[in-house]
């Protein structure tokens, strides 16, 4: 008893309870765990909290399922119901009790279900069913989309609404299917297979349903359904409303969407966007085309200047007019719907011809004028036997002012001669000696 006497520190009840609470709170095996049991002493409290005991053959534990945690519960608890709960143990100091605080609850059986899904997932993964390389791209412009879902559910409404808004002239073919309960899997498989038949002319399939409880979505975890998604020859979108746990169909589909509306957005482009894109490209091309023509025009103008054609050539002016007329027509056409096809096409064909003709005409004019210039040039005259006489830097056109003994330079076609004037005369004699 001496040992006992040595421990003189005296704790309060609160101290000890506090220590217990701390120990419990810090034990990993008591927190964030799933436990399985049967419900008894069930109380749905007016505050929204649910209190019950969870028991098995050997033990019982008090449990509290608070309002903020149980608000998403999609079934009603009953005495004797077997459930699996997720949560942690906490100590209620005032009553010296410990309690299991429940965050999530599933009906028992789901645990096994989850395991089965996990196993199936692994098996199909090994088979390569989820291989990203198997995934087909969605068509950019589907003309007809196929939908596998219930004709009365929220999913079909959402898909139709979204798809028609994005692309008003769209064709939709619905393969009605049961999406939950007995026979749902077979019904979904039949729908996917039917829409894959070429006779319906479908471009892309959306298969799914609106959100629901884990069990409601089970059909999309069934092996035959998952396989039907993977086997679809047509691109297929899995459109099962869910937040956390993706159904296996998401993995097998070419594309997965978290809601049917999102699936419709993935499948159907916004028509106006595509039209704008095309319009932009054509607008850019037309601008560029005008630049090319303008550059071409400038080059010709420059060439004419360079050649120093002095005479205003009415012919050229006419061509100038023709060109600006073409340009005007092109710039006008920008404001119209450019790609409005046949018209533009013909216009451009005309343009092509005109430009070609114009080029030919220019060539012709160049040739003509080039020879004219040559005729006017003194070189041609000299070639014919005439000569030019210079005194200093001035050409000599008259005998006036020329004296005997002056030095002059006589230029002929292929050279020049320095001469001294022997005499001058006012007579002009060709071919005779003076």
């Amino acid at each position: 008893m001496e040992d006992i006497e040595k421990h003189e520190t005296v704790y309060s009840v609160s101290d000890i309870t506090g220590i217990i609470k701390q120990l419990v709170a810090s034990a990993p095996e008591l927190n964030g765990v799933w436990i399985k049991g049967e419900i008894s002493n069930l109380t749905y409290h007016s505050s929204g909290h649910i209190y019950f005991s969870l028991k098995d053959e050997g033990a019982v534990i008090q449990a509290a399922f608070f309002k903020y945690s149980n608000k998403n519960l999609d079934f009603r608890l009953e005495e004797g119901m077997s459930v699996v709960v997720f949560g942690g143990v906490t100590v209620f100091e005032k009553r010296g009790q410990y309690q299991f605080i429940v965050y999530k609850m599933r009906k028992e059986g789901l645990g096994e279900l989850l395991q089965r899904i996990e196993k199936l997932k692994e098996k199909l993964y090994k088979e390569g069913l989820f291989d990203p390389r198997r995934k087909k791209p969605l068509p950019q412009l589907p003309r007809r989309i196929g939908i596998v879902t219930s004709p009365t559910g929220a999913a079909i409404r959402d898909i139709i609404k979204v798809a028609m808004r994005r692309f008003p002239n769209l064709e939709i073919v619905i393969a009605p299917a049961k999406v939950q309960g007995e026979g749902a899997a077979e019904s979904i498989v039949a729908g996917i297979q039917e829409l894959n038949k070429p006779v319906w002319g479908i471009d892309v399939i959306i298969a799914g349903r609106g959100g629901g409880s884990f069990e409601d979505l089970m059909a999309f975890n069934e092996e035959k359904v998952v396989r039907a998604f993977a086997a679809s020859k047509l691109p297929i979108i899995s459109a099962v409303g869910h937040q956390i746990d993706s159904p296996l169909s998401d993995l097998a589909a070419d594309v997965a969407a978290t809601t049917p509306s999102a699936a419709a957005e993935l499948a159907v482009p916004v028509k106006d966007d595509i039209q704008n894109t095309i319009e932009q490209i054509i607008g850019k091309m037309t601008k560029r085309m005008m630049m090319v023509l303008q550059t071409f025009n400038n080059r010709i103008a420059l060439a004419l200047q360079y050649r120093a054609f002095q005479n205003p050539m009415s012919m050229l002016e006419q061509h100038e007019l023709a060109l600006s007329d073409i340009e005007n027509r092109i710039s006008l056409s920008i404001h119209k719907r450019l790609y409005d096809a046949r018209e533009s096409l013909n216009r451009i064909k005309d343009l092509h011809l005109l430009v070609k003709n114009r080029l030919q005409n220019y060539k012709h004019v160049f040739m003509m004028n080039a020879s004219k210039v040559e005729h006017l040039s003194p070189v041609a005259v000299l070639k014919r036997g005439y000569s030019i006489t210079l005194k200093g830097n001035t050409s000599v056109a008259s005998v006036q002012g020329i004296r005997q003994g002056d030095e002059v330079k006589v230029i002929v076609y292929d050279g020049s001669m320095n001469c001294e004037v022997q005499s001058t005369s006012n007579e002009v004699n060709f071919g005779k000696k003076s």
């Binding site: 068509p139 950019q140 412009l141 003309r143 007809r144 219930s150 004709p151 009365t152 079909i156 409404r157 898909i159 139709i160 609404k161 979204v162 028609m164 692309f167 008003p168 002239n169 769209l170 064709e171 939709i172 073919v173 619905i174 393969a175 009605p176 299917a177 049961k178 026979g183 077979e186 019904s187 039949a190 729908g191 039917e194 829409l195 319906w200 595509i274 039209q275 894109t277 095309i278 490209i281 054509i282 850019k284 091309m285 037309t286 560029r288 085309m289 090319v292 071409f296 450019l338 790609y339 409005d340 096809a341 046949r342 533009s344 096409l345 451009i348 064909k349 343009l351 092509h352 430009v355």
Partner: protein, 95 residues
Amino acid sequence: MEKKAKKPTFEEALEELETIAQKLESGELTLDESIQYYEKGVALAKFCHQKLEEAERKIEILQKQPDGSIQKKSIKVKEDTGEIEDDEDVQGSLL
């Protein structure tokens, strides 16, 4: 530009249109080539435009017939909600 025997798909046409626009933009073409590309571009844009208008607004549902065959049936939906009109009588499954 070579002519394709087969009609291009919408995707191919749009892609070619983009390529042509880029080539024209590059400024490395002769006048003749520029005009040719421009012409081709206009034709492609027209083709894409036609494709966009090709489909006609239509909603159909597949229904199993007494003889076991599957036929499609046109249905009306409410414009605002996308809901199938009440008076439409449709089966819920192809099975």
